[in-house]
C-alpha cells in the first residue's frame, strides 16, 4: 500500500455548550486508501458525524472548534489551509452527501443548475456545457428521464430521486473522496438499498474512496471494506469489516452485534441488550467511556482510559482486556 489518500491524525473537536465544553471528537486517527470504503459506525453522540464535518472543516465556530490534529489529504493538511484553499477542495476533490436531501438542496434552483454549479465553479466549464454534463450525471445515477429532469426543482422529486441528485452533484467534479453521512436513513427500505448500491457502484467505477457514516451494522456488512466503531467521541475498534464481524475485539462492538435482531436468525431467541444509556459527553467517566455499561469492566477500566492498540494484525481495539476477548 502506498501513502494513504486521507490520513486523520489525533483529531479533536470541541463544542462549547451551556453545560460546559463537550469533546465531541477526541483524539481520532485513521487512514483511508484510494478507492476504499470506510464505514464509521456509532450511535447518536458517538462523534461520527462531527468527525466527517471536521475533515471538511464544516464545524460551525462558535460553538465548535477543531482543537488539535491533522487531516492530511493527498499530502496536504486540510486544517492548515486558508478559507479560499479549503473551498477549492470542497465539492471538488472531496464531496459530501448529507442525510436530508431536501434540506441540502436549494429549493429555488433547478436540480440541474445545482449539479452544474460545482463544475462551473471548480472547472471553469461554461454553463451550457456544465448543464449538459449535469444531464449526463443524472443519467449516470439512473434518474428516469434525466434529460428533462435537469429543469425540475427539488420539490418535484421524491426522496429517492433527490438523493440520486445529491449523488450526481457529489460526482460532478470526479472527487477522490466522497463522505456520505447517513445518506439513506430518511428513505424507505427498498429505496435505501437502491441508493447504497448506486453509491457503491459509482465510487467503484470512479475509483473514489468513500466514507460511509451509519448506525446500521447491516449496511456496514454489505458495503464497507473497513470499519471504525466510535463510542463517546473516540474510536474504540478499527479494522477490516470481515475481521471485525468475525472477531470483534471490543465489548461495545460485541454487545452491539448481540443486541440487533437478524433476519437470518432462528426466530424467537431473546436479544442480549447493552444495559444502561449512551454516555453523556459533558460528563464522561475518567476511564473507559463504555465501562459503566460493560459486563467485563474491572477497576482499571474505571480509572484509566484504554489506548487504541493493535490487538491482531490490522485490528485495533481500545479495551484493556482486548487480548481476553474471544
Amino acid at each position: 500500500m502506498g501513502a494513504p489518500l486521507l490520513s486523520v491524525k489525533h483529531l479533536s473537536t470541541e463544542f462549547r455548550t451551556e453545560r460546559g465544553t463537550v469533546k465531541a471528537v477526541d483524539d481520532v486517527s485513521f487512514d483511508l486508501q484510494a478507492g476504499e470504503t470506510l464505514a464509521i459506525v456509532g450511535e447518536s453522540g458517538s462523534g461520527k458525524s462531527v468527525t466527517a464535518m471536521s475533515i471538511l472543516r464544516l464545524i460551525p465556530n462558535p460553538p465548535g472548534r477543531i482543537t488539535s490534529g491533522e487531516v492530511v489529504f493527498d499530502g496536504q493538511d486540510l486544517l492548515k489551509l486558508d478559507d479560499h484553499a479549503i473551498r477549492a477542495i470542497r465539492g471538488n476533490r472531496i464531496a459530501m452527501i448529507f442525510q436530508e436531501p431536501m434540506s441540502s438542496l436549494n429549493p429555488s434552483l433547478t436540480v440541474g443548475l445545482q449539479i452544474a454549479e460545482p463544475i462551473n465553479l471548480h472547472r471553469k466549464t461554461p454553463w451550457a456545457k456544465a448543464m449538459d454534463m449535469a444531464a449526463e450525471l443524472l443519467a449516470r445515477v439512473r434518474l428516469p428521464d434525466a434529460k428533462s429532469r435537469v429543469k425540475s426543482y427539488p420539490h418535484q422529486f421524491s426522496g429517492g430521486m433527490r438523493q440520486r441528485g445529491m449523488i450526481a452533484m457529489a460526482l460532478a467534479c470526479q472527487p477522490q473522496l466522497i463522505i456520505a453521512d447517513e445518506p439513506t436513513t430518511a428513505l424507505d427500505v427498498t429505496v435505501q438499498a437502491q441508493i447504497l448500491a448506486l453509491l457503491k457502484e459509482v465510487t467503484r467505477a470512479a475509483n473514489s474512496a468513500l466514507i460511509l457514516i451509519t448506525h446500521d451494522l447491516g449496511v456496514v456488512a454489505r458495503y464497507a471494506d473497513r470499519v471504525c466503531v466510535m463510542y463517546g467521541g473516540r474510536i474504540v475498534e478499527a479494522g477490516p469489516a470481515r475481521e471485525i464481524y468475525a472477531r470483534p475485539k471490543h465489548p461495545y462492538t460485541i454487545g452491539l452485534m448481540a443486541s440487533i435482531p437478524r433476519l437470518d436468525q432462528e426466530a424467537g431467541q431473546r436479544l442480549v441488550p447493552i444495559e444502561g444509556q449512551p454516555p453523556n459527553l459533558a460528563k464522561l467517566p475518567p476511564g473507559c467511556a463504555f465501562a459503566p455499561r460493560c459486563r467485563r469492566a474491572a477497576d482499571l477500566c474505571r480509572t484509566e482510559r484504554p489506548p487504541l492498540v493493535q490487538s491482531a494484525p490490522d485490528h485495533l481495539s481500545a479495551c484493556h482486556f482486548h487480548a481476553q476477548l474471544a
Binding site: 450511535e43 447518536s44 421524491s158 426522496g159 429517492g160 430521486m161 424507505d188 427500505v189 427498498t190 429505496v191 435505501q192 438499498a193 437502491q194 448500491a197 448506525h215 446500521d216 451494522l217 447491516g218 449496511v219 456496514v220 456488512a221 454489505r222 458495503y223 469489516a241 470481515r242 464481524y245 468475525a246 454487545g255 452491539l256 452485534m257 443486541s259 440487533i260 435482531p261 437478524r262 433476519l263 437470518d264 436468525q265 426466530a267 424467537g268 431473546r270 436479544l271 442480549v272 441488550p273 447493552i274 444495559e275 444509556q277 449512551p278 455499561r293
Partner: protein
C-alpha cells in the same frame, strides 16, 4: 398456543379514505387518499401480529382505525366479540380501556409539564379508577417497576429521561388500565441501536407475564420478525402477504415480500457476500393515484398482463398463510 385460539381482534375489509380538498373559497373534494383499502386480518389472544411496510403503506392508519382514533370509511372491526365499527365516542371509552397504544416518538408523546406519576396515572383518573392517594401511588409504583423504572422516578419530568426510559414511561401508561391489546406504532425506531433491544425485550417480558396481545407496527422487518409470531406485509393500503415469522423469511411468496427481504442487509459480511442482491427499482407510487390491478405491478419483477388490470384476491395457502398475488392463481 391452543388448537383453537381465541380471536381478540377481527378486521374485515377495512377501508380508510382521506378526502383531498382543493380551492380556497369553493372548497370541494377533488380526490381521496386510499390510505387503507380493503384490509382483513385476525389477531389471536397472546400473539404479536406484525404490520410491516414502507411509508404510505397504511400500517399506522390501520392501527389508528382499529382504535377508532380516525374515521373508518367502510369495513368492520370486531374487538373481543363486539362489533365496534359503529360505536360512538362516548361508548368507546370503556372499550378503550381494553386497547391501548404505544407511540413512536418518546419525546412528543409525553406531556413535558406533567410528572411521570401523573403521566402514568392519568389513564386511571380519566377512567375513574384512581382510588385513594395511597392506592394510586402504589399502582403507579408497581407500573414503573413493571417497566424497569425506579419508584423514585415518579416525581421527575420527562426531560430528565433518555429516549429509552421515556419509551418505558409510555409503556407503563399503556399498561395502567390492564388492556388486553396494545398497538405499538414504531415503538423502537426512534431509539439508538443499543437501546432498541432493551425495549424489545421489555415488550416480550410483559407479554409473557400478562398474556397481552400486540399489534406491532414498524418498517424494520428484522425487528418485526424478531418480536412477531405472524407478520402481515402491507403495500399501498393493502396486505400482500400474511405468514408466520419463520415462513416469511424461509419462503416468502409475494414478490414484494421477497424484494423487502432482499433489500435488508444482514449484519455479517460473509453472509452478505453470498447473498443474491436483487434490488427492485422504482419507488412507492402515490396513494392518491394507486396503480390499477395489483398495486405492486409497476415495480414487480414477475409482472404479468393480468396484474395490470385485476386486483389479486387474498388467497389462503397451506400452513395457515395467505398471499395476494396472481402467481398463485
Amino acid at each position: 398456543m391452543p388448537s383453537s385460539p381465541e380471536i381478540v381482534l377481527e378486521v374485515r375489509d377495512l377501508r380508510v379514505h382521506f378526502p383531498v380538498m382543493a380551492g380556497a373559497v369553493m372548497r370541494k373534494q377533488v380526490g381521496s387518499v386510499k390510505a387503507v383499502d380493503g384490509v382483513s386480518f385476525d389477531v389471536r389472544r397472546g400473539e404479536t401480529l406484525g404490520l410491516v411496510g414502507e411509508s404510505g403503506c397504511g400500517k399506522s392508519t390501520t392501527g389508528l382505525a382499529v382504535l377508532k382514533m380516525i374515521d373508518i370509511t367502510s369495513g368492520q372491526v370486531v374487538f373481543e366479540g363486539q362489533d365496534i365499527t359503529g360505536v360512538d365516542r362516548a361508548h368507546m371509552r370503556p372499550i378503550r380501556r381494553r386497547m391501548q397504544m404505544v407511540y413512536q416518538d418518546p419525546f412528543g408523546s409525553l406531556n413535558p409539564r406533567m410528572k411521570v406519576s401523573q403521566i402514568v396515572g392519568e389513564p386511571l383518573e380519566v377512567h375513574g379508577l384512581a382510588g385513594n392517594r395511597a392506592a394510586y401511588n402504589e399502582r403507579v409504583a408497581s407500573l414503573l417497576d413493571m417497566v424497569g423504572l425506579l419508584p423514585d422516578m415518579a416525581d421527575r419530568y420527562p426531560h430528565e429521561f433518555s429516549g429509552g426510559q421515556r419509551q418505558r414511561i409510555g409503556i407503563a401508561r399503556a399498561l395502567a388500565l390492564e388492556p388486553s391489546l396494545i398497538i405499538c406504532d414504531e415503538p423502537v425506531s426512534a431509539l439508538d441501536v443499543s437501546i432498541q433491544a432493551q425495549v424489545v425485550n421489555l415488550f416480550q417480558e410483559i407479554q409473557e407475564r400478562m398474556g397481552l396481545t400486540y399489534i406491532f407496527i414498524a418498517h424494520d422487518l428484522a425487528v418485526v420478525r424478531h418480536i412477531s409470531h405472524r407478520i402481515a406485509v402491507m403495500y399501498l393500503g393493502r396486505i400482500v402477504e400474511i405468514a408466520s415469522r419463520a415462513e416469511l423469511y424461509k419462503e416468502p411468496l409475494h414478490p414484494y415480500t421477497q424484494a423487502l427481504l432482499a433489500a435488508i442487509p444482514i449484519p455479517d459480511p460473509d453472509v452478505e457476500a453470498s447473498r443474491p442482491q436483487q434490488i427492485i427499482t422504482g419507488e412507492v407510487p402515490s396513494a392518491m393515484r394507486p396503480p390499477p390491478g395489483c398495486r405492486f405491478h409497476t415495480r414487480c419483477p414477475r409482472v404479468m398482463d393480468v396484474c395490470k388490470t385485476e386486483t389479486p384476491p387474498m388467497r389462503e395457502m397451506p400452513g395457515g398463510r395467505a398471499v395476494a398475488c396472481h402467481l398463485y392463481d
